[in-house]
Point group: C2
Chain length 340, copies 2
Amino acid sequence: MPADDRRRRRATIHDVAAEAGLSHGTVSRVLNSERYVSATAQAAVEAAIAKVGYVRNTAARNLKTQQSHAIGLVVHEPHSLFLEDPNIGAILLGTNEILSNADYQLVSLVIDSDRDSARVAEYLRGGFVDGVIIVSARSGDPIAHAVASIGIPAVFVGHPPDISGVPFVGIDNVSAAASITSRLIETGRRRIGMIASALDRDSGQDRLSGFRQALGARFDSSLVVEFPLYSYDSGLEGMRELLTRDPTIDGVFAASDAIGAGALDALRAAGRSVPGDVGVVGFDDSAWAMRCQPPLSTVRQPADELGRMAARSVLAQLKGEPDVPEAMFLETSIVWRDSA
Amino acid sequence: MPADDRRRRRATIHDVAAEAGLSHGTVSRVLNSERYVSATAQAAVEAAIAKVGYVRNTAARNLKTQQSHAIGLVVHEPHSLFLEDPNIGAILLGTNEILSNADYQLVSLVIDSDRDSARVAEYLRGGFVDGVIIVSARSGDPIAHAVASIGIPAVFVGHPPDISGVPFVGIDNVSAAASITSRLIETGRRRIGMIASALDRDSGQDRLSGFRQALGARFDSSLVVEFPLYSYDSGLEGMRELLTRDPTIDGVFAASDAIGAGALDALRAAGRSVPGDVGVVGFDDSAWAMRCQPPLSTVRQPADELGRMAARSVLAQLKGEPDVPEAMFLETSIVWRDSA
DNA sequence: GCACGATCTGGGAACGATCCCACACACCGG
DNA sequence: CCGGTGTGTGGGATCGTTCCCAGATCGTGC
């Protein structure tokens, strides 16, 4: 397997110019579709490009223009959740769609440890990317602070509680949580608990707030358990805990579908029927929700559209558009299935 | 949100040289840890770098060295499966781990349509990446052929049936499939069917071959149904079809866990018990397998290690190492749960 | 004391684009 | 016929590195 001279010298703008019988300046003008190019020159250059098989050298372009034409997507999530969280994939695809249409390359950066965190901060500072989109930052997140201090165009997907001045896109977690909790109330549940999670992020905090708000005076803090991760295991353990705290519990709001799935399995193991004995609702409308037994009622959030919005916002900042909104909220809806 | 002069001029190698009282040539030598640099010069340069906050300009470096220091990861998969396939995420993380240690940037490219396919081929040809890793290519895949013809260092994860001369990493799907099928035979199943899928890839073909091989003379082609996608829906529909073809069916090999999950739900809907009436086995050991009712017995494949191996192979090719093996197989194991 | 190699350093020439200035020409109105 | 404006084109300077060549210095062996 020789890695030697397989790739021969690539054609440059000068080769194109020579082929077309024009100067490299004119070729550059055609490439960047600037004004003041005659139709004949345009045609000649295009023919020459096709003939010599020219493709633009990005490194040279980037060097001269002092841009990278790349946007970073920073995902701060343990590996295990990165693999399972369906929202992240959808955000990634949505972002990629917008950016590639705008001729920007998406570069994904996964942070799984503090070491990664420092390396990524360095990377962002190094001019490798023209802008950055940050997914699932927590409060006190070093990356979030680094970004805010570098002054690079940035957007958060979800809003870290302790940063301001950086635009973000998100959903209204408070009202979404309140509205799905109401469902439990309306269907006659009396003892309603919550398995909360990720309280170091806005999503976690806000879902708890919404839950509390919907219950009003009936809110009972002893029926709330908290876990760091939006995971199946949190749901399993959380539900067990809630059952011991109050065996008469008849409604549960799980802060994510994964948690909901865990709760469902814990309830089954404890011999409770759903929705007969206990009503359960989740959050995300991920693949989990549909596959549970019984299928989970949940909040659907438009993750792909969040990704698109974030991408559009960075591009707008890059173009220097004057009024890039700092807060952008997208609508959620509720999907009713069988679990409540 | 002004995008104006927030990022002031970055320090260059010349600024460092001036600060250290040395020439830019010497600074470059330190940066690339070449020979013939005195200890004092080394120290002076390092101090100067820290003082002026220098970070290397990659565009300039890439321009001069004619490299991009980036590796492409091409995933050829419909969006829906990209989100759900746990192997892809694990491959991505494994790859990223090795590459970032070697100071290479991973660039993910998702192909969801023929249009994408052409654009990505163009991208690879454009010198944006020094090498490429291709996941889940099918036979007749234009990207696979493009890569083979460009002559760029490349590795396949899984082997497209109609390409040769390009290294690949993979698992032995034939023997893994044979061995899990044997389990069904050993536990006394008599009428064993398969829901096959993705026959345009080596994984799909080989799992079918392994199944056939394990059954030997008892193989009955009427008990094999085929679907293009490794999806839950394929499992649902496939199981229904198998039940109509032969209601006495008592064993099923699903070509993936997602298919297995679908099959399980179809069996439940048809009133069959698992593993009582029918034994079911899957492939992948994904999150699906654990969450099914009952949990699925399945083949575990080391997806993260596949990603690492692929990355190592591209790096080896890049370094011009002489004997990069063309075929690399990793061991699989079988996880016994309750479904068979 | 001198030739010679090894070590270290300085500085110029690329790499391949973009950007800008200078110039050529056409057209128009007064 | 002349100045001015709008088009179109050529070619030089430049971005920040790496690479290479030339030269300086220092030992070391004869």
